[in-house]
């Protein structure tokens, strides 16, 4: 698992990358009540605002972690946004994307580096 400074995690599944937010981020945001996902088959550039999450406290944007194409989104979040709190690194994933250059992942933090980042 890789992490961004925006508290997203990325996990490689075959030729796709699954993206969600970290346990730490989910905890800090509080109870999540709404998730607005992008359309599948959307081409995105790194740092594009692709997901809006609203917690009981505020709205936050989730940025595209890398250049690529969003190929699948987690439709279950529309009816059950609380999945992001219950299982942020599992069932609470946001989208799967195809990344042109998988080596870009190497520049992201690994788990140990992320733990240090949030400490």
């Amino acid at each position: 698992m890789k992490y961004t400074e925006e508290h997203e995690w990325l996990r490689v599944e075959g030729d796709l990358v699954v993206v969600g937010i970290s346990d730490h981020a989910s905890e800090q945001l509080g109870d999540i009540v709404f998730v607005e996902l992008p359309e599948a088959e959307t081409t995105v550039a790194k740092d594009d605002e692709v997901v809006v999450i609203e917690s009981v406290k505020a709205a936050s944007d989730i940025l595209a972690p890398l250049d690529g194409e969003i190929v699948e989104v987690n439709e279950a979040l529309a009816d059950n946004p609380a999945l992001v709190n219950e299982d942020p690194t599992g069932d609470g994933w946001f989208f799967k994307m195809k990344i042109e250059d998988m080596s870009a992942l190497d520049d992201l933090m690994d788990e140990a580096a992320y733990k240090e980042f949030i400490a």
Binding site: Q28, G30, D31, F34, E54, V56, K57, A58, A59, P81
Partner: protein, 381 residues
């Protein structure tokens, strides 16, 4: 995201207790206050509706108005010069909601006024308390001693188990009705209790001497039905109950008529009443009571799941046109399991059931004008 150390912030006497109980502290109205505890906002809200929640509201201003004549009617008449509310009729042992208005007919704060026999006891909002106290001292000192009470904490115990939990320590509170006030002995401390609150639930507010506040609060939360509740859930509870938050839904430019608070302005202070007018901004307020306001506070239910928060502009049409209103409070309602809001709209668009559009992140999303409260209150009348 970092925890605030609160170096420049004031603290209530329960500050150590909050930290001890795992509160996330935030600055609020100059105080270091708990926004949530370990349960989180959603569960704290639901717990209050299901059992009982205890809120530290010691940051609010407690003030005594003691009439120099010894007759509480003189204090009531004096305070009536600052509020469009009938206080002369407020009986001993009863409490009433009131509003400080300004010369422009806007609202400078909302408050609770209790008749405690030989004096009035007033509770005002934390953010406004210094100004409110100065306002009362400037205008009431001829007839009253205006004394801020700084040696007492204030807690609210709200929810269906509030009566049982408080009655364990003070059986007399079970006999009180909504908006009754009484002096009650709790664990040997002289406490001022009202059967009221700001959650839409039955419950109490209890003013406790500072040196006994933590001990009594700990005794209450030792009850398995009682949880500490932070400001986050306090906000969603009051919004579900259709209650205004000063600074969001009420402000110095908004009149009580626009705010749909006509129920708080009794006949005696209206045109043709025994003590008509005689409060700041009476000209505008009486005119709006007669002719209707140009805009009105309404409840709003977004159709989708996206919350519409304070500042969202409201439109009559899905495309084009100028805004006809603005959201002033918006959140997810944990008990009604949907987003909810309140705001101000042109009176022409204020009828219940009117479909409007709120602009959220550049998109106009449907929202319907709805009756409040969103969840029926459970006061013990």
């Amino acid at each position: 995201m970092a925890d605030t150390t609160g170096a420049d912030l004031k603290q209530t006497v329960l500050n150590a207790l909050h930290r001890d109980m795992g509160a996330k502290m935030v600055p609020f109205a100059g105080y270091d206050m708990p926004v949530q505890y370990k349960l989180g906002v959603m569960q704290e809200h639901l717990h209050t509706r299901a059992k009982a929640g205890l809120f530290d509201v010691s940051h609010m201003g407690q003030v005594i108005l003691r009439p120099k004549s010894g007759d509480v009617a003189d204090a009531a008449l004096a305070l009536e010069t600052l509020v469009p509310v009938a206080l002369l009729e407020l009986k001993e042992g009863r409490q009433r909601y009131a509003l400080f208005t300004n010369d422009a007919g806007g609202i400078d704060d909302d408050l609770m006024v209790a008749n405690r026999g030989d004096h009035l006891f007033v509770v005002v909002n934390a953010a406004c308390k210094d100004a409110d106290i100065a306002h009362m001292q400037a205008n009431l000192s001829d007839t009253c001693d205006v004394t801020p009470i700084t040696d007492r904490a204030l807690i609210a115990l709200q929810g269906p188990e509030a009566e049982r939990a408080l009655a364990v320590l003070a059986p007399a509170v079970a006999e009180m009705k909504f908006m009754d006030v009484a002096t009650v002995d709790i664990m040997g401390a002289d406490c001022w209790v009202s059967r009221s609150g700001y959650s839409g639930e039955d419950g109490y507010e209890v003013s406790i001497p500072n040196d006994r506040a933590e001990e009594i609060t700990r005794a209450l939360i030792a009850d398995e039905a009682v949880e500490l509740i932070g400001l986050g859930a306090r906000d969603s509870l009051r919004l579900e109950a259709g209650l205004c938050l000063y600074g969001n839904d009420l402000d110095p430019t908004t009149s009580p008529v626009e705010a749909n608070l006509n129920w708080a302005m009794q006949k005696a202070r209206r045109a043709g009443g025994a003590r008509e007018g005689g409060f700041p901004g009476a000209e505008r307020i009486l005119k709006e009571l007669a002719d209707g306001p140009s805009r009105l506070r309404v409840g709003l239910l977004p159709e989708g799941r996206a919350p519409m928060r304070a500042g969202v502009e409201l439109f009559a049409e899905e495309e084009g046109g100028a805004p006809i209103g603005t959201v002033t409070s918006g959140a997810f309602g944990p008990s009604i399991e949907r987003p909810m809001a309140m705001g101000y709209v042109a009176t022409s668009h204020s009828a219940t059931g009117t479909r409007l559009f709120g602009e959220v992140r550049g998109k106009r999303l449907p929202v319907t004008v709805a009756d409040m409260p969103f969840r029926a209150a459970t006061y013990k009348r």
